[in-house]
């Protein structure tokens, strides 16, 4: 039994070349189609031309410090925004109408206007042009967008230029109107705001005035005044009250004095005695009678006697004196009563007696009453100057006291009012400050808005006179001479590389997947001993013939295939539609353009 050792197969460079040679069929089978396709594409793809307009974003002429533009966004954003507006449905439809693009884009037109618009959108390219600009404020360089380009791609150079032109015009137009619009809107908004604030301010003013009116006297600014007034009023009040006290004392004094003085003068004889007139006698009797009647009852003989005497006297002196005497009696009794009341308590017998006497005398006076009216005045008039004086003083004192009392109450009322004001002051102050603050706020806001409004108005006029940032057409789009794509040489080159790579890759992969025994060396290594013989593939005549036939067939097929591919590419990609307005035959137009389109001529026409 032999040991058959199996060993690993090592690879050498010779093996690689052997692999390539051995798998040349597969490699070629991969390379050739890929190459053919790339050549077909390189030749068959239609030229695409691009026409470009350059638009400069010019800074505003008037320095920003003077007039701050309302348009504050960066150029990039503005351009993007305007792009969106430019590529709106209405605008695109306008362009389509103007250039009659439905007939140019026949395929898309069949699918609807939306497809044509989409073609326009897809063919448009927007690019920013930036530059390093020194920022005047910071002094540092920064990348700023200073311009942008609008390009359009089309298979027809003329169309590319025309459409690019339209788009550029749209950009310029949109920018102008949008800026104008923005400035106008801002001004309008600000003026509206200003109105609102003004109205609010007016309302606050009214409330403030109202409040002041309602709380007059309690306002904070009047506080000091109020304090002063209070102080003064208090002083006055104290003063008055002092006066009142003084006067009351005086009154008491006067009253007591008056009680001791007879209201009637005494008549003196030449000897200096007091002579009693009949009236006088009557009066003294009456006084006596009064005091006695208080002590005794009316049945007492002294009382009876005295009343007989008095009646006799009354007959003499005339009845007129009755009433005056009664009046005097009452008056005297009243005085006595007053003095007694002051001296004693009201339960005191003297006081009680005098009360009885007064009551009686008043009754008698009423009884006499209306019958006699003569001589009342003369009998009632006291004629004692001292008495008169005292009485006058007393009355004066009374009336003064009364006035003072009134004054006192007035002052008290005033004081109370003032104090009420003071107590109200803190809450009033609070409310007042709130109102004032609101008002101040409104006022400052108003000032702010009016300032802004002024700025906005200026900006508006800036825009309307085109002195703000604007778009300027720097380069008008031209009819392109050379196509943008495809880069035919590059396609062929790339295709060649790819196909070779693909071929080799295929060979490598296939080789890797191949687990067969290959070559003498492999077998030797697998077995440990070399094979006894290596027999080559024996080719018979039949084999040779078959091979030849196979080669011919492959060549013919690939040529045919290539030709078919070319025909297909030609018919598919070459534009056959004539230019607008020109009814040239496609045959004359398309090939001419293909030759012009550059790229290698490959003689496959």
């Amino acid at each position: 039994m032999q040991q058959h050792t199996i060993q690993q197969h090592t690879i050498s460079l010779k093996d690689y070349s052997a692999v390539l040679v051995r798998r040349r069929g597969q490699i070629i089978a991969v390379i050739v189609p890929l190459l053919l396709i790339s050549i077909a594409l390189a030749v068959g793809l239609p030229s695409v031309y691009q026409s470009t307009a350059t638009i400069l974003v010019e800074q505003q002429n008037i320095p920003e410090d003077l007039v701050t533009s309302t348009v504050t966004s960066y150029a990039d954003e503005r351009i993007q925004l305007i792009s969106r507006r430019v590529m709106s449905r209405e605008n695109l439809d306008k362009v389509i109408e103007k250039l009659k693009l439905q007939s140019h884009y026949k395929e898309e037109a069949q699918l609807g206007m939306g497809a044509v618009r989409q073609r326009l959108t897809q063919g448009t390219a927007l690019e920013m042009v930036s530059a390093e600009v020194v920022n005047p404020r910071s002094g540092r360089e920064q990348l700023v967008t200073i311009a942008f380009t609008v390009s359009y791609e089309d298979e027809s150079p003329e169309f590319a230029q025309q459409i690019a032109n339209e788009l550029a015009a749209l950009y310029l137009e949109e920018n102008r109107t949008s800026r104008m619009q923005l400035a106008t809107d801002t001004a309008a908004f600000l003026s509206h705001e200003a109105e609102k604030v003004k109205a609010h301010m007016a309302e606050l003013e009214a409330r403030l005035a109202n409040f002041k009116e309602q709380n007059i006297g309690a306002l904070p600014e009047q506080r000091d005044l109020n304090l002063q007034l209070i102080e003064r009023t208090e002083r006055e009040l104290i003063n008055v009250q002092n006066q009142i006290r003084t006067l009351e004392e005086r009154r008491i004094y006067l009253q007591s004095e008056l009680a001791q003085v007879s209201p009637y003068n005494a008549i003196y004889s030449s000897q200096g005695d007091r002579v009693l007139t009949a009236d006088g006698r009557l009066r003294s009797l009456q006084a006596e009678y009064a005091s006695l009647s208080a002590r005794y009852s009316s049945d007492h003989p002294d009382i009876v006697r005295m009343s007989r005497e008095i009646r006799a006297l009354e007959g003499e002196a005339g009845g007129g004196t009755d009433r005056a005497a009664l009046i005097q009696q009452v008056h005297t009794l009243q005085q006595q009563l007053a003095a007694a009341r002051e001296r004693y308590a009201s339960e005191h017998p003297d006081v009680k007696r005098l009360e009885r006497a007064v009551a009686k005398a008043e009754d008698e006076l009423k009884a006499v009453g209306a019958s006699s009216s003569r001589g009342v005045a003369s009998a009632a008039v006291p004629d004692n100057p001292a008495y008169i004086q005292l009485k006058a003083n007393l009355e004066a004192a009374q009336s003064e006291l009364h006035a003072l009392k009134i004054s006192e109450s007035t002052l008290k009322t005033k004081l109370a009012a003032l104090e009420a004001r003071i107590s109200k002051a803190p809450s009033v102050e609070r409310e007042y400050s709130v109102l004032m603050r609101d008002y101040e706020d409104a006022r400052s806001r108003y000032k702010e808005i009016t300032a802004k409004q002024t700025t906005a108005e200026l900006a508006k006029s800036l825009e309307s006179e085109q002195k703000g940032d604007r778009f300027i057409l720097l380069e008008s789009p031209v009819v392109p001479e050379a196509p943008l794509r495809p880069k035919r040489l590059a396609i062929v080159f790339l295709g060649a590389i790819l196909s070779i790579g693909g071929g080799i890759g295929t060979a490598v992969v296939m080789e890797g997947m191949d687990s067969s025994v290959r070559g003498r060396k492999a077998l030797t290594e697998l077995l440990g001993t070399p094979p006894l013989a290596v027999i080559p593939y024996i080719e018979t005549k039949v084999d040779i013939r078959r091979k030849k036939w196979w080669r011919v067939a492959t060549a013919v097929t690939s040529i045919l295939g290539f030709a078919l591919l070319m025909i297909w590419a030609y018919s598919r990609f070459m534009p056959l539609s004539p230019l607008p307005g020109q009814e040239g035959t496609p045959a004359t137009m398309a090939p001419a353009r293909a030759v012009e389109g550059g790229g290698p001529t490959n003689g496959v026409k």
Binding site: M1, Q2, H4, I6, A18, R22, D514, S515, S516, V517, R518, G519, R520, K521, L523, L526, L527, T529, P531, L532, A533, V534, I535, P536, Y537, I538, T540, K541, V542
Partner: protein, 272 residues
């Protein structure tokens, strides 16, 4: 010295057999040993050159240089067989289409052409016999008939116009080939074919080793095995598996067939 002794011994044995029971008649097939072991009077056919060329038989090839690899093979095989005193060789491969039949035929032709050995080429791929087609010959009877139906061997064997080469073909496809290959009849047949002559070489074309168990069934009856490997097609797994299966046999060597990997210097060495 050894060789002469062995040759004398063999000659003596064959003479003894000849003097032994001579059986004639229809009861049993005529034994090869009864006759002179060198020749079987089979049919002699002429194979046209273009047929040979079409089937890639070396003797018919235009390009003489292609004979060189087979010469190399012949030399190597001969050397080893003589060294180990083998006389029977089985030719097989892992799978179909490796070229084992062609290799067997060409080896047999080479051996017969340029050595003084008598070569017997026996078809043992009984499911798909193909040796006869290589010679463009449609035999009436095949080895199956000889073994099973007792057809005499002369009616089966033929010689394709190469001296000292006798071909024993197959005809119809046989279903239970492995049973036949391990049967006593087969054993007897191989013994007869071998004879006692060391100058007889028997080449047996067997089916692919991975496709059936025929090779294993026949393996006790054969001295050595030649494995044919197809360059670029036989996988390593197949090769390993094949080697495993024939591990108990004497593998005389391998042949890398249909190879692109051919160097002229390989054939400068001619050992003979």
């Amino acid at each position: 010295m050894e060789r002469i002794k062995k040759a004398l011994e063999l000659a003596r044995q064959s003479r003894m057999q000849d003097q032994g029971t001579v059986r004639t008649g229809e009861s049993s097939p005529p034994r090869l040993a009864d006759r002179q072991p060198i020749d079987i009077d089979g049919a002699k056919i002429q194979v046209p050159a273009d047929v040979l060329e079409y089937h890639r038989i070396v003797s018919g090839l235009q390009d003489r240089a292609l004979m060189a690899p087979y010469k190399m093979l012949r030399t190597q095989v001969l050397q080893r067989m003589q060294q180990s005193q083998w006389t029977t060789l089985a030719v097989t491969g892992p799978r179909e289409n490796v070229g084992k039949t062609l290799t067997a035929v060409n080896l047999a032709v080479s051996l017969a052409s340029s050595s003084n050995h008598a070569v017997f080429l026996v078809e043992l791929d009984l499911r798909r016999p193909s040796i006869h087609t290589v010679f463009g010959y449609q035999p009436e009877y095949g080895i199956a008939e000889h073994l099973l139906d007792s057809i005499p061997i002369e009616k089966v064997a033929f010689s394709p116009g190469v001296e000292r080469l006798t071909v024993i073909p197959g005809t119809r496809a046989l279903e239970h080939s492995s049973e036949l290959l391990s049967s006593p009849a087969m054993q007897q047949f191989v013994e007869q074919l071998k004879g006692r002559d060391a100058r007889r070489l028997c080449i047996f074309d067997l089916p692919p080793v991975l496709m059936s168990d025929d090779v294993l069934a026949f393996s006790p009856l054969v001295d050595a095995l030649l494995l044919v490997v197809e360059d670029g097609k036989t996988t390593r797994e197949d090769l390993n598996r094949s080697l495993e299966l024939i591990a108990d046999l004497h593998l005389i060597g391998t042949v890398l067939n249909k190879s692109e990997d051919v160097i002229k210097s390989d054939y400068s060495y001619q050992a003979y």
